[in-house]
């Protein structure tokens, strides 16, 4: 599970209630207890000051933390394209991004969002070369599709925040190995990877 925010003694998590754990999380109220293990993995900070983030659904969670960390709106310029299947799922995604100093563009497949389409469509509307780094965060299907939306010359600027089922969290059981490059384990090698590393290209 990605950290959406961390300041002092407060930890923010952004979840979509789709399974047992996420449903229980959403049901937890003040005073409830939550067992955590982590943080897992290693940091991967994009270089520069001008960034484009592309998030699919709850892939927005780690992006929110990046917006904080990179001091978006103060030290950095951060554009965030976030996509949902339906406009009703978008909730307050745009507001959350703005609160963290980012400039949101919300995509949905139906009407009711800023733009109609998928978040990756945003890559075709902008000049990728005008950003120091592009950060993609979302489900495997989205990551798989991303090279089709971006000219090869820009692949070296792309960081991917991957998702996988983590079991041991110690790099021992192999549960979180990445489909694109099974030699990489999300829990110890990630969750951020260079796109070129995932695709095995130089």
């Amino acid at each position: 599970m990605s950290v959406a925010g961390f300041k002092g003694s407060r930890l923010d998590l952004l979840v979509k209630p789709v399974g047992d754990t996420t449903r229980r999380l959403v049901e937890l109220g003040a005073g409830g207890r939550l067992g955590l293990y982590g943080p897992l993995g290693r940091p991967l900070i994009p270089p520069g000051r001008r960034f484009l983030f592309v998030a699919g659904g709850s892939g927005l969670a780690p992006i929110l933390y990046y917006l904080d960390y990179l001091e978006c709106g103060v030290r950095s310029v951060c554009e965030v394209a976030v996509g949902f299947n339906k406009s009703v799922e978008a909730g307050s995604a745009g507001r959350l991004v703005e609160e963290k100093g980012g400039r949101p563009v919300v995509y949905c497949l139906d009407t009711g969002c800023d733009e109609k389409g998928v978040a990756l469509d945003h890559l075709k509307r902008v000049d990728p070369g005008s950003y120091d780094a592009l950060v993609l965060s979302g489900p495997s299907e989205m990551i798989n599709s991303s090279p089709r939306f971006l000219a090869r010359e820009y692949w070296g600027r792309v960081i991917v925040v991957a998702e996988a089922l983590v079991k041991c969290g110690l790099g021992l059981c192999g549960s979180c190995r990445l489909p694109w490059n099974p030699g990489l384990y999300l829990c110890v090698d990630g969750p951020g990877f260079h796109l070129t590393q995932l695709l095995g290209v130089v």
Partner: protein, 280 residues
């Protein structure tokens, strides 16, 4: 060597072990059909080791050939760990493993986490015998610590085991006092690491004293000294598991280099000089 259960669940993780410098790769324990294993939490990291209940998650014996091809392509031997529920199952697993081209078989006779697998004491003899009857490659019996470890090891050796691997993890539990429940999904798990090292040393010592047989020592090897302890207790070879978690892949080089320096400083010319040195 790595101990079974650490990486080596597929060819990619097996190659990580090769790059770490292991002398042989011991696969994750493989079963006749793939196993998903337990839902998390499956591991509890402890200051003194690990408590795990992975549930023998593995891709099944059919996957072994891919691991063997990759590892032997780097000229490193492969030891297939197999986990069956009966002597017949062990024999079937052994047949598949030998066809996949492995260099030795390690019979997981003692996993504490899976109720439907493991033959424990009574069928140790039959399981080893069943595998030995079809294998031209070395057969090792991996056993857990018990008060009558000599007797269990004796059954395996009588059946023709070429070596015993001592010891497997020990059944253990941790409870989350705020949740009021065991932490692991399986409730109990296998304890490994420095916490069990003295038991591993004692088990190796007792069995070597009784039989002077070939032993692979495993349990809490986290540096050269803990490796030397097992060797002096009687182990000819050493496996590392929790040490990989505690120190990373560099532990292999650290242990080998530390062992070399110790032997040089103490005037030992070969490992053979110190195998069983502490046993009187």
């Amino acid at each position: 060597m790595n101990a079974s259960g650490v990486l080596a669940v597929d060819e990619h993780s097996a190659l990580r072990l090769v790059e770490a410098g292991v002398s042989a790769v011991v696969t994750k324990s493989l079963t006749l059909t793939p196993r998903e294993g337990y839902a998390p939490p499956i591991v509890v990291p402890l200051e003194y080791g690990l408590l795990n209940a992975v549930g023998l998650a593995n891709p099944g014996i059919d996957y072994l050939a891919r691991i063997t091809r990759a590892v032997k392509g780097r000229s490193i031997p492969v030891v297939a760990s197999i986990a069956g529920g009966s002597p017949g199952e062990f024999a079937r697993l052994a047949e598949e493993a030998l066809e996949a081209g492995v260099d030795a078989l390690e019979l997981n006779l003692s996993c504490p986490n899976v109720r439907d697998l493991g033959v424990f004491n009574k069928a140790v003899h039959e399981s080893v015998k069943a595998v030995k009857s079809i294998s031209g490659k070395p057969v090792w019996a991996k056993l857990s610590y018990s008060l009558n470890i000599e007797e269990t090891a004796g059954r395996a050796l009588d059946a023709g085991a070429d070596a015993v691997v001592l010891i497997n993890t020990l059944p253990a539990m941790r409870i989350d006092v705020y949740a009021g429940k065991p932490i692991l999904t399986n409730k109990s798990g296998g304890l490994s690491g420095p916490a069990i090292h003295p038991l591993a040393v004692y088990a190796v010592y007792k069995v070597y004293r009784e039989y002077s047989c070939d032993i692979v020592g495993v349990g809490g090897v986290v540096d050269w000294e803990s490796a030397v302890e097992l060797i002096m207790a009687g182990a000819k070879g050493v496996q590392i598991a929790t040490g990989f978690y505690m120190k990373g892949p560099g532990i292999v080089g650290e242990v080998v280099e530390g062992l070399r320096k110790f032997m040089e400083a103490e005037g030992y010319k070969s490992i053979g000089e110190i195998v069983g040195l502490a046993v009187s």
